[in-house]
Symmetry: C2
Subunit: 408 residues, 2 copies
């Protein structure tokens, strides 16, 4: 019989942690490096110490809790996520990854399992980026993507710096924040989307992350009086924008797995009886394959140009940000799939639509992720929810991939 985690204990720990920095509607508010965030970390430290762990704190405040293995010199298997939340955050986003890894160690202790490699839990600093930009900060410095001395100067809206807050909260450790040999890194997370729930599936085997691009589109027409300007005299950027947005969806739907979103649109002037002279809107496009994503954005650019020609408009088309696609480590993906299979949990391969600390760590260590369903796909909201059964299934899979990587 396969050993399992204690799902009830994990759920209780999640609920206990959610009380730290409580939200107004059942969620949590633990912005990175605030007193609430530190209180959450301290609760975790207490639990991990009770589980026999030792600690290392690095110069970005990333916290490692270690359970020794038979070969203390061997690279550890690392698993974790983050304890900081969005301003009106949920009880699971990040927290499940940390407390799931804690539950793995507690279960190893319960069963008296000694692994060959050490097992470490990591709490990454400031994954959300909601207080200090950018998101995935601690794991990004660790993976060499961000420069620590530059990141130290970043400020929150009140002008407090990352370095200042690391010092004030005594999270600026003495271990340099830099990559060390890691046998494998696994992160358990809620899906933050609706697919697993809709497919009635317990486990998402995350194969990689979508590439994404953000574009600013500005259409320039001729503002004028809504009453006195006949339709055939108009250069109306709102009509151009409506055509482009309608057609954008057709472009996206032609590519399975693609998504496209217009999140902001502004008219200038914004007056009920004026034809706007200018319309600005944003486009977020994502796809797991880089070439397909490039094709979507090329199609969009051509669409904008052709609609503008037909409507007598000028346009600016500015790519303001892009994140490359990423593929997790083949062996890690296989281990996650095999664990779900052997535990008889329903599973399907899935691509992450959001960024995670695992996406950063993937640059420097063999990495895999495990998703579990969340209610209505809702996340970054206090109503974020899942079930004790679902978190237990996720933790069981995590336990078995950690065992598979740490015992040989």
């Amino acid at each position: 019989m396969k050993i399992k985690t204690n799902g009830e204990r994990l759920w209780d720990s999640l609920m206990e942690m959610a009380k730290i920095g409580p939200g107004e509607r059942g969620g949590s508010r633990r912005l990175a490096l605030t007193d609430a965030d530190i209180a959450g970390r301290n609760l975790f430290r207490e639990w991990a110490a009770d589980a026999g762990c030792t600690f290392r704190l690095d110069t970005m405040g990333n916290l490692f809790a270690r359970r020794e293995g038979k070969n203390p010199g061997a690279p550890p298997v690392v698993s974790g996520s983050h304890l900081d939340t969005q301003p009106s955050g949920g009880r699971f986003d990040g927290i499940l990854g940390v407390l799931g890894a804690l539950e793995v160690i507690r279960s190893l202790n319960d069963q008296g399992v000694e692994t060959d490699s050490p097992v470490e839990i990591v709490v990454w600093t400031n994954e959300e980026g909601a207080r200090f930009p950018p998101a995935m900060m601690g794991s990004g410095v660790f993976a060499g993507i961000f420069d620590q001395s530059e990141i130290y100067t970043h400020q929150d809206p009140e002008g407090l710096t990352v370095e200042g807050e690391l010092r004030r909260t005594e999270q600026l450790g003495d271990t340099p924040c830099e990559t060390f040999p890691i046998k494998a890194y696994y992160e358990l997370h809620i899906e933050q989307g609706p697919v697993l729930e809709a497919e009635n599936t317990s486990i998402g085997v995350v194969t990689g992350g979508q590439g994404s691009t953000w574009t600013h589109v500005t259409l320039q027409g001729q503002g004028s009086h809504a009453g006195t300007t006949p339709m055939n005299f108009r250069k109306d950027p709102m009509m151009g924008a409506a055509r482009i947005i309608t057609e954008l969806r057709e472009i996206v739907l032609k590519q399975p797995g693609a998504v496209g979103t217009v999140g902001r649109l502004e008219t200038t002037p914004a007056s009920i009886n004026s034809i706007p002279g200018q319309v600005f809107f944003t486009v977020d496009t994502r796809h797991p394959n880089e070439e397909t994503l490039a094709q979507i954005n090329l199609d969009l650019k051509n669409l904008v140009n052709s609609v503008c020609t037909e409507e007598g408009l000028e346009n600016e088309f500015d790519l303001i940000w892009e994140a490359p696609t990423l593929n997790f480590h083949k062996e890690c993906i296989s281990k996650v799939r095999n664990a779900a299979e052997s535990l008889a949990y329903s599973h399907l391969d899935i691509v992450s639509g959001a960024g995670h600390d695992a996406c950063q760590v993937n640059r420097v260590a063999p990495t895999g992720m495990i998703f579990i369903p969340c209610e209505n796909g809702l996340s970054h909201d206090e109503a974020e929810n899942t079930t004790p059964e679902q978190v237990a299934a996720g933790a069981d899979v995590l336990l078995h991939v950690v065992l598979a990587s740490a015992c040989n």
Copy 2:
């Protein structure tokens, strides 16, 4: 030979008036009942007194300058418009109607013409509504559309009332603001649209005003993460809005003479990487025929409902304002057309897309309007422009309709 006005004198007066409350880019800023507005009125009073006029000021500050006729007891022929401007207003909108009427009296004086009926110039108070809502205030009270005691309480953004400002500026006269017998009312105005210029035509024979309706449309969907929500799981109100706006234009184009405008659109939340939960937009529709306008709005409502059903959205559809269609007086329209014809000015029948004091006066007196072209159809902007030849043509037509109505 037909007598004519002195176009050069009229142009000089327009340019002189534009210096009062100068704008920043060549236009004017004379918000109703400000010191600049009063300075403009005083300049007009000076000129009208020099032309031999006597004055009446009513309790709404509407100013009447009278040139006596052979029959002093006969109802006067009245012509005018307004001297107040938009915050960044042009040199012609309203001012042309007042100074054009002054030029008519100056020309009658030059030619020694004695009319049967008296001729009066009127300066209506607060046509723009830019400082105190609503627009067309003075003419609206005069025509019995607004209640004076209620209008007196209206405040500007600083809390100053209409009554207080009428008193402070000594524009609260002793003649009751109410309808009196008027033989005919004519108003000369720039078109504020592009049609006459595009048709290379000197005179617009205004047959009436469009009906217009303002609608607020709110689409409610499901806000969620732009990365983790597959296209087929979305209830995206931005996509619904884009479809509706694109189709709205098709509905409008099916009805010749109709116009439809989406001037404002707002997404909530307005975030580049969030599918909005809600989209709000405004719709302004206009048509000269009331039944056609009703049909357009019914088609729009049906469109909103059918798109929402297909997209899984809820909607609110609120008609927030409507102005009925109006027809000017048949004989006044004919007189304008005949005058243009006999003076050999090119002309075409046109419907006013905007509201004017004449639209209010039309309720209580035989009314007609004369349009002249303006550059690029631009108005409510300091760049508003026309030419000395065009204002002269408009004033000539005004002179001849005043003569046609005042001499018999």
